[in-house]
C-alpha cells in the first residue's frame, strides 16, 4: 500500500529565519523522490514536516489526502531513517528491528519471527543476537532499513543515510536501496546533498536552495535543462560565462560572451524563463560538452590556453584560460594527448549543449 504526499504552500519559520518557503509539490505513491540541496537549504526541515517532528508555520502537509496537522510522528504512516541511523545501542539487532512491533504490543514470538524475516531480506540472516556495535557501517545501514520496514509503513523517509559511509560502500548501497525500494514498492523520500546519489536513484528530484524549491524533475531534466543558475551550477559541474543576448527567435539565441564570435544556443521548452534580445545572461557549458575542435569549421568555436591538468584515471580535467576566463574541460582518457602546454587550444560546443539563463545566484563550490 502506498500513499501519495502533497505539500501545499508549506512555510517553516524559526523566528526571523525562514527555513522553508512556499514548498508546493506532489509525490506520487511508489515514487523514489529526492530532495537535493546544499546543507542548510531546508531539506531536512521539510522532511521533518512530513515525518511529524516539525509543524509547518503555514501550509498543509497531506499524506494519502489527509491533513496531517496535529498528527504526531508516532501516528503517521511514515518511517524515518536518520542520518546517524539512530539504532538503539543497548538492544540486540533483532530487538532493534522488532522495536516498532514491541511498542505496538506484539508478542515476543511474533516479533522474533518478523525480525528474522527482515534479517533475511537485508541479507543478514541469523545475526539477530549480535550487538549493534558488532556490525559494520553497511550492515548497520541495512538494519536501520529493516527496522523502518518492520511495521510496513507507507512512506520511507531517508535523511542522508549514506553520508557516513565510505565511497565504495556508498555506491554499493545506492543500488541496494533502489533494489529494496523496487522490491517493497514503497514511496521513498530521500534527502541528500550528494547529486550522484540523487541522480542515480531517484525517479524525480527537487533541487532546493535557501528554503526554496528551485526545480523539480527527473535526473535528466535537472542535469540537462536546469531552469535556474543555482541548479545549473549545483548539479554537476558547469563553466559559467557572462554574456548578453543578441537575438532570440524562439528556437535559437545568439549570445555575445566576449569570446570572439557570438555563440548560438538553443532555447529548450523545459528550460528557464525566456530571454529577450539585450538581456544580460549567464551561459553555462558543461566541461564534458566542451569539445576539442579538429578544424576551424565548427560552430561556437573559440580559442584558449592550457593552464593545468587534473588526472583522474578515466577522465582528464583540464583547466584552460580563455581571455582571462578559467574554463574546465573534461576528456575521456583515450590514450591520446592532443593538448600541449603553451599551444593554443581550439574549443567548440554544440548549440543544444549550451544553456542560457537569467543571471542568478550560483552554488558556491
Amino acid at each position: 500500500m502506498t500513499k501519495e504526499i502533497s505539500l501545499e504552500h508549506v512555510w517553516v519559520e524559526f523566528g526571523e529565519f525562514t527555513a522553508v518557503q512556499k514548498a508546493n509539490l506532489n509525490i506520487a505513491g511508489g515514487e523514489f523522490f529526492s530532495f537535493l540541496g546544499p546543507s542548510g537549504c531546508g531539506k531536512t526541515t521539510l522532511l521533518r514536516c512530513i515525518s511529524g517532528f516539525q509543524d509547518p508555520t503555514r501550509g498543509v502537509v497531506r499524506i494519502g489526502g489527509n491533513d496531517m496537522k496535529g498528527v504526531g510522528p508516532n501516528k503517521r504512516p511514515t518511517a524515518l531513517i536518520f542520518q546517524n541511523l539512530a539504532l538503539f545501542p543497548l538492544r540486540s539487532i533483532a530487538d532493534n528491528i522488532a522495536f516498532p512491533l514491541e511498542v505496538r504490543g506484539v508478542d515476543k514470538k511474533t516479533r522474533r519471527k518478523r525480525a528474522d524475516e527482515l534479517l533475511e531480506l537485508i541479507a543478514l540472516p541469523g545475526q539477530g543476537d549480535k550487538k549493534v556495535s558488532e556490525l559494520s557501517g553497511g550492515q548497520k545501514q541495512r538494519v536501520a532499513i529493516a527496522r523502518a520496514l518492520a511495521v510496513e509503513p507507507d512512506i520511507l523517509l531517508l535523511d542522508e543515510p549514506l553520508s557516513a559511509l565510505d565511497l565504495k560502500l556508498r555506491q554499493h548501497m545506492r543500488t541496494e536501496l533502489r533494489a529494496i525500494q523496487k522490491q517493497v514498492g514503497l514511496t521513498f523520500i530521500y534527502i541528500t546533498h550528494d547529486q550522484g546519489e540523487a541522480l542515480t536513484m531517484s525517479d524525480r528530484i527537487a533541487v532546493m536552495n535557501k528554503g526554496k524549491v528551485e526545480q523539480i524533475g527527473n535526473g535528466r531534466t535537472i542535469y540537462d535543462h536546469p531552469t535556474s543558475s543555482f541548479v545549473a551550477s549545483f548539479v554537476g559541474e558547469n563553466n559559467v560565462m557572462d554574456g548578453t543576448v543578441l537575438t532570440n527567435d524562439g528556437k535559437m539565441m545568439t549570445i555575445d560572451a566576449g569570446l570572439g564570435a557570438a555563440f548560438k544556443v538553443e532555447n529548450h521548452p523545459a528550460g528557464g524563463p525566456a530571454l529577450a534580445p539585450g538581456d544580460v545572461c549567464q551561459l553555462f557549458v558543461r566541461p564534458e560538452a566542451l569539445h576539442l575542435a579538429k578544424d576551424d569549421s565548427g560552430i561556437n568555436q573559440f580559442e584558449s590556453k592550457f593552464v593545468s591538468e587534473e588526472f583522474e584515471g578515466n577522465m582528464r580535467h583540464i583547466v584552460l584560460d580563455a581571455q582571462g576566463k578559467k574554463l574546465k574541460l573534461s576528456l575521456i582518457n583515450d590514450g591520446t594527448n592532443a593538448i600541449r602546454a603553451n599551444a593554443p587550444v581550439k574549443l567548440d560546443f554544440a548549440p543544444n549543449l549550451g544553456i542560457a539563463l537569467k543571471p542568478g545566484e550560483l552554488a558556491s563550490a
Binding site: G52, N74, F82, N84, A86, L90, P100, V103, A150, V151
Partner: protein, 405 residues
C-alpha cells in the same frame, strides 16, 4: 650502590605519606574499637575486648538514630532521584541561554550552606504548618519528613550532576527514532532513555543515600526532636564518647570493604582476559565467581560476629580495674598528704559505685565538663559523664601523673 639516591626515594616516600594520611585514622579507629579503655585510644593498651560492639547494640539511642537515618536515606533517594533526573532531562533539551540560568538555579542548593538550608526548611514548613493550623503531631513538624525534604533540596542537585554527565552522551535522535516508529512518549522514555540512564541511576542512588546518611549540617536543624545516626554521634562526641563509636566505624569499614571486594571481583571476573583464563579451568571458574567470594566473605563476617558475641575479656578488664583502683588509692593517699581539703572523700565514694567506668574513662570528659561547670551551666552535664562534678579532684596535674604510669 645499595642506597637509592634521595631523589629516587621521593615517590615512595610521597606514596607512604599519602596512604598514611588516608588510612592512618581509619586504622587507629579500628584498633581503638578493640581496646578496653573507656576512651577510644590505642595507647595505653589495656585489654583486647569486643565489649564495645555489645555496648553499641545495647545503645538504644544510636540504634534508633541509625534506623531513622536509613528511613531518611531511602526517602531521600526516592524523592531526589526522580527530581534530579527530571532536571537533567530538562537541561539537556532547552536552549543554551535558558540552560545556563536553569543550571545555576538547580545547582544553587549545593552552594548554599547546609545550615541555611536546614534552618530555612524548618522555618518554611513551620510557616506552612501554622497557615494550615496543623497540630504539632502533623508531618509539618515531623523530623523525618522535614529532614527528607531538607536534604532533597541539595541531594537532588548532586544526583542531577551525575545524570547530566551521562545524558550529555545521549543521542536525542534515539528518542525521535522511537517516536517515529510508533512509540508513545512514555514508551520512548521507558524503553530508550531509562535503559541508557540505568548506570547513572545506580551511582546516583548510592551517592544520594550516602550523602543523606552522613549529612549533619542540615539534619541537625530539620530533625527537630528526633535523631539520626549523625546527630547521635555528634552528641556522643560532645558529651563524652566511648569506643562504641569505633565499633560503628569498624562495622561501616567492614561493610564498605566487603562491598568493594565483591564489586572488584565481579569486574575482574567479567573482564575479557579472565574469561579466557577460566575457560578451561572449571574449578577456578567456580572459585573466582563473585557469588563464591561473597559467600566466603559472608561466612567470615558471621564468624566475626560470633567471635565478638562470645569473646570474654572480663578477667583482663577486672585485673586492669583492680590496678587502677590501687593506683587511685595511692593517688588519693598522696593527695591527702599534699592538700588536706575536705573534698578528699568524694572519689572514694564515687568510684566504687561505678565499676563499669574506670577512673580514667571519665577524665577527658571531665576536663570538658569541667569547663562547662566552670561557666556555671551544669544543666548540660549529662549522665554519661558522672565525673564532671568531681572535676576538682581529678585536677590536670594528677591526671597527667596517672597517664605517665
Amino acid at each position: 650502590m645499595k642506597m637509592k639516591s634521595p631523589k629516587a626515594m621521593i615517590p615512595g616516600l610521597y606514596l607512604t605519606l599519602f596512604f598514611a594520611y588516608l588510612f592512618g585514622p581509619l586504622i587507629i579507629m579500628v584498633i581503638t574499637a578493640f581496646n578496653s579503655s573507656n576512651f577510644p585510644r590505642v595507647s595505653p593498651w589495656e585489654c583486647f575486648t569486643t565489649d564495645w560492639f555489645g555496648k553499641l547494640v545495647a545503645d538504644d539511642a544510636l540504634i534508633e538514630g541509625i534506623g531513622n537515618s536509613l528511613i531518611i536515606g531511602i526517602g531521600v533517594v526516592v524523592v531526589a532521584i526522580p527530581i534530579g533526573l527530571a532536571a537533567a532531562i530538562m537541561l539537556s533539551q532547552v536552549g543554551p541561554k535558558l540552560r545556563a540560568s536553569l543550571y545555576t538555579i538547580f545547582i544553587a542548593p549545593i552552594l548554599v550552606p547546609g545550615v541555611v538550608i536546614g534552618l530555612s526548611t524548618l522555618i518554611f514548613w513551620d510557616r506552612i504548618g501554622t497557615f494550615f493550623n496543623a497540630p504539632y503531631e502533623s508531618f509539618f513538624y515531623d523530623g523525618t519528613f522535614l529532614t527528607i525534604f531538607g536534604q532533597v533540596t541539595f541531594i537532588a542537585a548532586y544526583s542531577m550532576l551525575v545524570f547530566l554527565s551521562r545524558i550529555q552522551r545521549f543521542d536525542h535522535t534515539l528518542t525521535e527514532a522511537a517516536l517515529d516508529m510508533g512509540a508513545t512518549p512514555t514508551q520512548a522514555f521507558v524503553k530508550v532513555l531509562l535503559p541508557f540512564m540505568a548506570p547513572a541511576i545506580g551511582s546516583a542512588t548510592v551517592l544520594a543515600f550516602l550523602a543523606s546518611l552522613e549529612n549533619y549540617n542540615t539534619t541537625v536543624f530539620t530533625i527537630v526532636s528526633s535523631s539520626t545516626f549523625t546527630t547521635v554521634l555528634s552528641s556522643k562526641v560532645r558529651y563524652g564518647l566511648d569506643p562504641s563509636i569505633s565499633a560503628v566505624a569498624v562495622i561501616i569499614i567492614s561493610i564498605t570493604l566487603i562491598g568493594a571486594i565483591i564489586f572488584e571481583v565481579r569486574n575482574r571476573y567479567n573482564s575479557k582476559g579472565w574469561a579466557l583464563v577460566i575457560a578451561e579451568r572449571p574449578a577456578l571458574k567456580v572459585a573466582t565467581h563473585p557469588g563464591t567470594v561473597a559467600g566466603i566473605l559472608g561466612v567470615l563476617a558471621i564468624g566475626a560476629v560470633l567471635f565478638i558475641q562470645n569473646y570474654d575479656s572480663n578477667a583482663c578488664t577486672a585485673q586492669i580495674l583492680e590496678e587502677k583502683r590501687a593506683l587511685q588509692q595511692q593517688l588519693m593517699e598522696q593527695q591527702s598528704l599534699d592538700t588536706p581539703t575536705p573534698t578528699q572523700s568524694a572519689p572514694s565514694s564515687t568510684v566504687p559505685s561505678m565499676p563499669s567506668l574506670g577512673p580514667l574513662g571519665g577524665d577527658e570528659g571531665g576536663n570538658e565538663g569541667g569547663d562547662e561547670n566552670g561557666a556555671g551551666s551544669d544543666s548540660s552535664a549529662p549522665a554519661s559523664n558522672p565525673f564532671g562534678g568531681a572535676n576538682g579532684i581529678f585536677a590536670p596535674q594528677n591526671l597527667r601523673g596517672s597517664e605517665g604510669n
